[in-house]
Symmetry: C2
Amino acid sequence: MISAHVFIATSLDGYIARADGDIGWLLQRDDPTEDHGYRDFIADKDAIVMGRGSFEKVLDFDPWPYDRPVLVLSRQLAPTPVPAALQDKVRFCDATPQQVLAELEAQGVRRVYVDGGQVVQSFIRAGLVEDMVLTTVPVLIGAGRPLFGALPRDLDLQLLASRSFPSGLVQSTYRFAR
Amino acid sequence: MISAHVFIATSLDGYIARADGDIGWLLQRDDPTEDHGYRDFIADKDAIVMGRGSFEKVLDFDPWPYDRPVLVLSRQLAPTPVPAALQDKVRFCDATPQQVLAELEAQGVRRVYVDGGQVVQSFIRAGLVEDMVLTTVPVLIGAGRPLFGALPRDLDLQLLASRSFPSGLVQSTYRFAR
């Protein structure tokens, strides 16, 4: 069975980025001497699913940071060509979370890293996220792109672990109740 | 010097109540065998400031739960009489956070518990909150009254402590940077 997993950071008021996509407030509070567990998290993931916002943010990084296949879920990008340098690394796709997981499962993928606000929201809403590592940055930014969105019903979570870092990050791992 | 302190719980998606004020989702996840520290928190507070929403919620409780003077900040309630049973316990007031703290300080109050979404937001926006104990309940409710609101600028916080409970609550204590 394929499963989807989230590893994401928000401001204390729940934003993953400012309204214009800026994550400078996040990067400038990242203490590179602390191990926040991303390497451990990504180690057993076979593929990455993200939205257009995350993809365009990652495009700013050089070199391309992922050594796993990346699927970009975007109605807007789906009919456009993938940049030449990323042809063997990235695919654009317009599909529902269910369709994406079914397709990846047919390709042998078992564990998917789901990233980006809209995409994470759509996977949560569809009940398709297995667990979530949520890192809270000790700053209030007042407005922006929220991690969470509207839901058809309450969703219970089980806290699996919680830890804090000297920099003030609080990282909690939740499993979604079935 | 007088100081203002927050002790509050939110859903994982940052709501203190549903849009209609309902906090059943919160109460039903409260494990009475766990000590979440409210008694310790309130022990050194001399007065409580809250908004109309919190006041009306507390009115449902019987008996009245507070043994400290309560100031209800509400333009709507300010011109109305306090219910007879609460005459010596509650005062209605329409004032800014600065005015409220100045008035309470003149009365000898040193440490104020600030409660309720709108009132906490207005104290935070005015830079008047000293520290905040934030308890996160492991549920997503999708919509409601958010704890945090718009801000004129980013506000940094210092994490003082963080702990989790078997019930899945994560409680983090922050000090607002000056």
